[in-house]
Symmetry: C2
Subunit: 172 residues, 2 copies
């Protein structure tokens, strides 16, 4: 099945900059049977969690599908400054400089067993920041789910000790 | 039912700045029965379209639910520079300065009957830009769906002539 889904992933050379081979999920989103299959397959990889934490913004698409599928809370991990309540925040490195993610401080609690969702695992910086956010609230990260894992960028290593699943592995 | 859903909308004074009463949908997202009801109710307001166009980034959450519900394509309208393919772009005004949205040029075509989805209608600037994007590709905007309509900001007027639905109206 994962081989099937690969057909819906576009490849755009030199985006967003020279030398990067961008993986484009919009063909998958445009094929409802492929989007529905992605949600089903991701949901089948793990136990039903107590909440889904979805990473802004493409993670929101798959995270919403999974939260509705499992009938569990949807918790957004957002870029700094977007969430109106009291938050916890984690900084992560980009190639040049840094950025940060936040979740609401009351969004999770000890006893929560969380699945973190994003479309793509590359270097793992945002995913690792999200793991830290969840754990700072006393919740447990049961697993991390991705549609695509780009290999050779150290993402899985950066999430060492975590349960990580992706529907497909592609070379970076 | 819309009266019920209001209980899941938070109100945060002076966010993101002094004098603004921010409507927070994260309590709704955290209650799966409320999120599922929102999708059901939105879907019940209109005919099944040929595609859902969802506005980044909170619109992705409800747009994904609707695209899965209807089993139709999900087309993201994204901030400038995020989409890797050939795009069309529309600029819209902010209180200070301007911003722009894009969709992929091959995402829609004449004959498409589109529903545009976002969480909140305020001044209508981003929604109107999205209407223009859809129409520049020759598709028709069947309707615009919002969870919340803030009244008194001219949003509905700015979308004059369009079919606009919201699950609840709240004073700005």
């Amino acid at each position: 099945m994962s081989v099937e889904l690969r057909r819906y992933i576009g490849e755009v050379p030199d985006f967003p900059k020279q030398g990067v081979r961008f993986r484009d999920i919009t063909p998958l989103l445009r094929h409802p049977e492929a989007l529905a299959a992605s949600i089903e397959l991701l949901a089948g990889l793990v136990e039903r969690p107590s909440a889904v934490v979805a990473i802004e913004s493409r993670g929101f698409i798959f995270g919403a599908g999974l939260a509705l599928h499992w009938n569990v809370p949807f918790v957004p991990a957002r870029k700094f400054g977007k969430l109106p309540g009291k938050t916890v925040r984690e900084v992560y490195s980009l190639e040049y400089g840094e950025d940060s993610l936040e979740i609401h401080a009351d969004a999770l609690a000890p006893g929560d067993d969380v699945v973190i969702v994003d479309d793509l695992l590359a270097t793992g910086g945002t995913a690792r920041a999200t793991v830290r956010l969840v754990e700072r609230l006393g919740a447990r990260v049961a697993s991390l789910l991705f549609v695509i894992e780009l290999t050779g960028l150290g993402g899985r290593e950066r999430l060492a000790g975590r349960e990580v699943h992706a529907l497909m592995e592609l070379p970076a």
